[in-house]
Symmetry: C2
Subunit: 312 residues, 2 copies
């Protein structure tokens, strides 16, 4: 996939996911309209939709259909958005801007932002329990171990894996560790643990959920999981580098905000060059891992590349 093809692929997928999010979320005509306005303000704030795109790409790599994975993809984006709204609160990171727009609590007030986050997390589980189609993928893959039907047991597994990745031993746990180490010296193992939980767990589960919904076999699941772990960490390292180097135009928040808050970052611990080398190594491992999918894995290959090459 060329850089131009990837750009087009990401844009098409983003539109597909935005359309699904719009369809699955309550409208601003639904009562109470104030909460649905706040929810939609944050969901449609111009995200890259990387996580849901990963779910769709994983499902396709494992021989499944995009339609089968679209509801789970939307649900993950809702969980991601809830985590951003709560992270931005005054009691947490106290951020006024995200992606160049005022954060939810700056527009709707703190109470509404807390409730919008709560509503989004809950809405994700409404989606996961109602909107994943029970029908089998139409095309059986070349892999012998495709079971075909993501039946109710598979859907329960998806709910379980996503809840665990988002919970106190996953994303929330990472946020706790982040908070506890603000203004404190952090060593590399702690920083790695922090990001493997705060951002890594949710990215990792995207790959697994795509696999489960495509009835992937255990070898495929393992490849997807390892890919997810590597690009999750690489994504965070690059985020740290971008934060250090970035500008208001590129990132939508003031560059160097980690530094201002004295947050530990990979470049601060390892230097920029060493951090960049590490990110490249992780991405190269991730790409090797999904070579097993052959042509069906080209999107995953290109996305891994994008993670280290992106400028915002």
């Amino acid at each position: 996939m060329t850089a131009e093809e990837l750009k087009q692929y990401l844009e098409e997928r983003r539109l597909l996911i935005d359309e699904a999010l719009d369809r699955y979320l309550p409208g601003t005509g639904d009562s109470p309209k104030e909460i649905h306005e706040a929810v939609r303000y944050s969901v449609f704030a111009g995200g890259k939709r990387l996580r849901p795109i990963l779910i769709l790409a994983a499902a396709e790599a494992a021989g499944g259909q995009v339609e089968q994975a679209l509801a789970a993809a939307a649900a993950i984006e809702l969980i991601h958005t809830y985590s951003l709204i709560h992270d931005d609160l005054p009691a947490m990171d106290d951020d006024d801007y995200r992606r160049g727009r005022l954060t939810c609590h700056k527009v709707y007030g703190e109470a509404m932002a807390i409730l919008a986050g709560d509503a989004l997390l809950t809405q994700a589980f409404i989606l996961l329990s109602t909107a994943i189609p029970p029908c089998p993928p139409l095309v059986k893959g070349e892999w012998g171990d495709l079971e075909g039907v993501p039946g109710p047991e598979a859907r329960l597994t998806v709910i379980q894996e996503i809840a665990q990745a988002a919970g106190s031993k996953g994303m929330v746990g990472g946020q706790v560790v982040d908070m506890l180490h603000e203004d404190r010296e952090v060593d590399l193992p702690t920083l790695t643990y922090l990001h493997e939980h705060k951002t890594g767990a949710l990215i990792r589960v995207c790959l697994r959920v795509g696999g489960i919904l495509a009835s992937a076999g255990s070898e495929q699941m393992e490849a997807l999981t390892r890919y997810g772990e590597r690009i999750g960490l690489a994504f965070q390292i690059v985020d740290d580098i971008l934060d250090l180097e970035g500008s208001l135009e590129a990132l939508g928040k003031r560059a160097g905000s980690d530094l201002r808050k004295k947050k530990a970052t990979f470049p601060a611990l390892l230097g920029i060059e060493e951090s960049r080398r590490w990110a490249h190594r992780l991405v190269s491992e991730a790409k090797q891992t999904v070579a097993v999918f052959g042509d069906r894995g080209v999107a995953l290959q290109a996305i891994a590349e994008f993670v280290v090459m992106r400028r915002g």
Copy 2:
């Protein structure tokens, strides 16, 4: 059931539920321990466990087993606890005490309290997707329409109903309306809407979940639902009356706190006597509704009685 028998029944059930909660929640040895401490502080803060008790009682009334419903009962209590933690936050109701103890954010700080609520809501869905036994009830009831096995589809339905009851068109929606009407005149339809969502939706779903897990037929489901709607509203009316009349000893928060915050209440709109009559009428309707369960419904009958007679 005599008052003494009910007291013993409620106490036995409370212990059973506390034991389940202790088993299902991560321990304070689980990393990061700070969040699990905060979560357990709030979950084990001396609640009556009314909602989980209702799930168990509904399951038994419909001919099911307590064991089948215990995980869902625990999950509902986690969701109830999360809602209390977030409601107590400075940006929301700003309460320092609940049930005579300092609230979560007073002990662990605002950021940790936000995250503890998030963790509890997520943990509820971990429980619902993993801990409901797939096995059928051992004893088939006298009702012809018992299907026997709460299979994966039934478990997905339980997740869906609970998520919808807790979400932006249920509990969170009620909290939004409550917040938007603080310091404002509220009429009876608005106040009723508010409570039917803020507290009513979760109580109602307890009865339905108990029924679903006991493979209740549609007539039974309807009886349980109507019972839940009536005692949910009665519970809130009595809460308003108790808040007006109560004392620090009985309620664990300063009496009249609704009044201090100028919150609309049923006694403020209708007077205490008319409010009390309404609560009694609702409870009497609730009891009639579950007469259909005969002897198996005695606990539901007694709990309805308890809702209007309680003093705290």
